[in-house]
């Protein structure tokens, strides 16, 4: 395993809430794709049915945190400062994917954009922009 793969496995295994959601992730080279299989406990609208808006937000926030954690060794988990979540389409009863793009990584603060999609990469269900506080390992 490469260092990022090792860190990815460790980060995901350590967080109880990641297991609660049922989230996993794969690394292809240096590109991480986060994966959220559909599960009944993630439903927010029983009529459609659709994923809870909070689930999509949570999944994308966790994708951003994981991306930052595997990029470089951090003394502790990054902390979320703020996030803006945009909902574009209902999250249907399907597997959801997400990728994070680190727009800027400073000494203390990172800016990350995330996009989540289901069947079609070009038809995202939701997007997130956020700032995160870093504690670099010295």
């Amino acid at each position: 395993m490469t260092a990022p793969q090792q860190r990815l496995a460790e980060v995901l295994a350590a967080i109880p809430y990641v297991r609660f959601l049922g989230m996993t992730a794969q690394l292809a080279g240096d590109e991480m794709t986060a994966i959220l299989p559909f599960s009944r406990h993630l439903i927010g609208n029983t009529v459609l049915p659709a994923l809870h808006g909070g689930v999509l937000g949570a999944f994308m926030e966790m994708t951003a945190l994981t991306e930052l954690s595997i990029r470089e060794p951090l003394r502790r988990q990054p902390r979320t400062i703020d996030v803006t979540i945009e909902y574009l389409r209902p999250g249907r009863a399907l597997t959801t994917y997400a990728r994070a793009e680190v727009r800027k990584i400073g000494r203390r603060i990172a800016n990350v954009h995330v996009e989540a999609w289901q069947e079609l990469r070009d038809s995202p269900v939701a997007a997130l922009r956020g700032h995160f506080l870093l504690s670099p390992a010295e």
Binding site: P16, L42, G54, D82
Partner: protein, 149 residues
Amino acid sequence: MTGDAPKTAQHMAHGVPHAIALGFQFVSADNGVAIMKMPWREDLVGDPETGVIAGGAVTSLLDHVGGMAIGSAFAAASRDGATTSMATLDLRIDYMRPAHPRRDIVARAHCYKLTHTIAFVRASAFEDSADDPVATVQAAFALTGGGAR
């Protein structure tokens, strides 16, 4: 006013699988202001070093209580018990500080403006006092029908 909460609020408190999975508890919903509680749970922890509950769980709580505030504002405005469904358009969350480990998180939302198509909501999450929030939210929701227009 926990006894005669509008139908939308009742459904949102007890009929939504993700709300049940996170253990949300209905506190009140009246005239555009809704309050819910999320008890601390080991499996919702986001940072195992500190035991602090995951930001994502708080996001779900704030989104949910926002929807409930809209349901109660809509019921109050329509005066005939009409209900509406809604979809979150955007949600901005600012995290003031980590939540205290092993403490219930309370979320309070206020739907301060309701048009025919859009609802605007402010919300915050805290343990004891709204003056010392863990997180604050500004959100807009689209009303997607189901009730009187």
